[in-house]
Symmetry: C2
Subunit: 173 residues, 2 copies
């Protein structure tokens, strides 16, 4: 074994950014309602499974996000997975807050706003929030899902842009 | 707005699996050492940023994982991002535990075992663990990184297989 310490020349937030620039994330949009019943939503790159028994999902969010105050314990949310055909939704829900909902959304279970064009929609409930510095990990209990059987190409984010998935390299044996 | 409740015909863990089957994740390998100094490591699909100031990363792990007892507060870890050229490392670190390290690894900072073939390696320290049911969210303080400037295709996981990234669809404007 050799020693390679000299190559570790990045530190702190520069280290984080350099590494994550090339780390791909699946893209989702998350929607819900504020206390007045208005739709809220945003594009998220941190949605991931946290176990299947019971079924749990987590995502990370800045506490300063306009959506965060409405993600209290028991709040119902919709997590939509996206594909190359729904790129426009990723862009819209990452853009001007006043233009994220335009009436093309539907009312899903628990009156949560949903975008039916997405390949899969998961309905969940906020179980717990873990606050760390100015951010938070939000843990969701999975309740319901609507999943189309279309074999669409998932939407990804890396190198400051949206990508579609490419070639299959290997099965998980 | 229409109402679409009738399409939400999946619940519980079936709902989770159906949605996440088509949600792509970037693939990383995480390495460290147990209390006896032996290398430990595993393949992870949940590595994500948790804010840049201070720089934090999170990942999810089962508490029953053989690596979990060694991820105590202050433990040093290496998080490697992978590309299509390092698929074999994703496979090896997801396989037989006795064959995950074969001497091709190097000693990185803090004596953490690292695989230099990976496009980027982040060194961090366990800050906090949030246990939820039989799983946990592990929060890492980012310390150092070694990042190659190769524009490699990130390695992804979805539909029970490894994939490479495909076409760039749009910049993040």
């Amino acid at each position: 074994m050799s020693s390679t310490n000299e190559e570790f020349n990045l530190s702190g937030s520069e280290a984080l950014k350099s590494v994550f620039r090339n780390h791909a994330s699946g893209i989702a949009i998350i929607t819900g309602r504020d206390s007045a019943g208005n739709p809220i939503g945003f594009t998220a790159s941190s949605v991931t499974s946290l176990g299947s028994n019971p079924p749990l999902v987590s995502f990370n969010i800045a506490q300063g996000s306009s959506s965060y105050p409405h993600m209290t314990k028991g709040s119902k949310l919709a997590i939509h997975t996206l594909d190359s055909q729904t790129l426009h939704l990723a862009q819209r829900l990452a853009g001007d807050r006043s233009k994220r909902f335009d009436g093309t959304e539907s009312n899903g279970p628990f009156d949560v706003p949903v975008f039916e064009a997405c390949p899969a929609i998961l309905i969940g409930e906020v179980r717990e929030r873990f606050e760390v510095e100015s951010n938070a990990v939000v843990v969701i209990d999975v309740l319901l899902a609507s999943s189309h059987e279309v074999p669409a190409a998932p939407l990804l984010y890396f190198q400051r842009g949206y990508h579609t998935a490419g070639d299959r390299l290997a099965d998980n044996s």
